[in-house]
């Protein structure tokens, strides 16, 4: 589904070039449930932006569903994002003056689906996440967990191949975090690739594969069975390394 080959990215500010990604090789298959970890500055947000076609890269290649993603113009990138990728954010990023239903329906608006049709589909998705009664509420009238569920519904409505979640539980308490992770797992069970960026070990531990970034390179990749071992190792680490 996703294939990165020797991916480089640097940010130029004035005379300084900050080399953020220094040659990432990564394969993520269809239907995987992956978390990306790393300390701040390790390049995980940059990687997510490139995966989400929100940012371009300098060298290497990025294939999404067999298609090379490189130097797309804005319009084409917007269409690809709309069709292929669903985003979930830490701060939900719901549009404040639109109610839950309108927020969920928004991606379909950009697909030129008629108003009635997209509202109907949005209601189905809200119903699926137990938010039917909240359809007419503004984001400010919803709890954090509800907001994130609305955001997930919005990410799913365009039936994307991939869900990219940037710290999806960062603004939620533990119980709600687990709820959200359950939902993401359900989504993954339906065959959608889910990629989560997080710095919380317990959240990462709920995924099936952990990719650790370190100084712009993939430090280690831990899969399934190794997770148990990983969990134990995490316990022995000092709290300092959590940051």
């Amino acid at each position: 589904m996703i294939a990165l080959n020797q991916l480089h990215k640097s940010y130029v500010t004035g005379n300084n070039a900050l080399h953020v990604l220094k040659g990432i090789d990564l394969e993520i298959g269809a239907g995987e449930f992956v978390s990306v970890m790393g300390s701040s500055g390790s390049g995980k947000s940059t990687l997510l932006n490139i995966l989400g076609i929100l940012d371009d890269y300098d060298q290497g290649s990025y294939y999404l569903d067999g298609k090379l993603i490189r130097e797309m113009n804005e319009t084409k990138a917007a269409i690809t994002r709309n069709q292929m990728i669903g985003f979930v954010f830490q701060s939900f990023n719901l549009i404040s003056f639109k109610n839950a239903r309108e927020n969920v329906a928004l991606p379909l608006y950009y697909q030129k689906v008629s108003r009635r049709k997209r509202n109907q589909i949005a209601m189905e998705y809200l119903d699926r996440f137990g938010l039917k009664e909240w359809a007419d509420h503004l984001p400010s009238e919803l709890s954090g967990g509800q907001k994130q569920r609305v955001a997930i519904a919005r990410a799913l409505i365009s039936q994307p191949k991939i869900i990219l979640a940037d710290e999806p539980t960062g603004a939620l308490d533990t119980a709600t975090s687990f709820e959200v992770m359950d939902i993401l797992r359900e989504v993954n069970d339906q065959g959608i690739t889910v990629i989560i960026v997080t710095h919380e070990h317990d959240i990462a531990a709920m995924t099936k594969k952990i990719i650790r970034l370190k100084d712009g390179l993939i430090g280690e990749t831990i899969i399934n069975g190794e997770l148990k071992m990983y969990r134990e190792r995490v316990k022995s680490e000092t709290p300092f390394s959590y940051v």
């Binding site: 319009t75 269409i79 985003f87 830490q90 990023n93 549009i95 003056f97 950009y110």
Partner: protein, 418 residues
Amino acid sequence: MFDADIWQEIFSTIRKNKLRTFLTGFSVAWGIFMLMVLLGSGNGLQNGVREEFADNAVNIMWLWTGETSIPYKGLKEGREIRFNNEDYDFLTTRAEDVDQVSSRFYLRGDITYSYGKEYGSFTTSTCYPALQEMERVRLTQGRFINDLDMREFRKVIVIGDDIRKALFKEEDPLGKYLKVGSVPFKVIGVSLDPGSEENRQAYMPFTTAQRLFAGGNRVHSFAVTTKMVTTAADAEAIDQRVRQSLAQRHNFDPEDRRAMGSYNMLTDYIRTMKIFQAIKLFVWIIGIGTLIAGIVGVSNIMLILVKERTREIGIRKALGASPMSVIGLVLLESILITTVAGYLGLVMGVGLMEGVNFGLEQMMAGGGGEQIFFRNPTVDFNTALAATAILIMAGALAGYIPARRAANVKPIEALRDE
């Protein structure tokens, strides 16, 4: 671009920022209001002055004779110059710059008009039928002098309304005979110049007068209309050419204004109208300047709005909004604010000027206002249409820079958690 969603979004942002939208719209409305008031006033002034010219054709020229004051080709000064019927033939057939001609023969001394027991002293204008058009003679009754009257030396007369009142009182004057001196003339028409205090003038056929009052082939003065031109210099040149040709016929220096006097209305008319064109241009410049201030205001507000909505725009782009749809969102809002506000200003401006016009007309109808140099201070439909087009373009212009900025919002930066 015109579906309900985009409008719903525009209205929801407007609702959130009522005061700001109002202030922005106000500056645009004020700009267009001022433009309309200025243009209307300019038009009013111009119409008022044009009214002053309305008593005659604007291209009328009068020619009259006197004594030479400059020696010319060995001839001494102090010679009397006299026009004659050949000059009429020359002006009508051979002078290229001249369009219509009317000769005039002055009757000597006081001529008494009488009808029954009533009598009075009035001015007699002897003329050709063309004079009606040239001096804009308006008739309330009957007809003006025609070619047949001229050919047959008919004793017919068109009397001013004051003469009718003085001699005929309530009686219908048409077909009645009044005496000019001792000669009976048949009244064929009554003239009335509503702009003038004096309607004490009568018109009779030139040919009749010349024969009846022993004029020989003498002509005292000419009224002619010249070719229409658009510049004062051209009008001046026509004046010169007419003078030259007549000077040649009568052997006097063309520069000798005592030998032959002339007044060319067109030169003055063109000069005056040029002034008004300049005023109009000036008014447009000021008006557009005011409008630009309003547009800059709108543009400013839209920039702030885009900055405030950076995050929202970032979300939209992440969800698949194309740059075009983002531009449309900002541009339409800008056009909406400027168009609605501008239209309100337009309506108020035009309304005010129509109100002033109504007041003026009431005053005129009441008999006053003769001295007011201000008529019909309204803006015509085409100008209002042009202003509307300017408004919509202005809105697009005001929205363009902010819209470009919105389209260039990087979702990554917009969505970064601060």
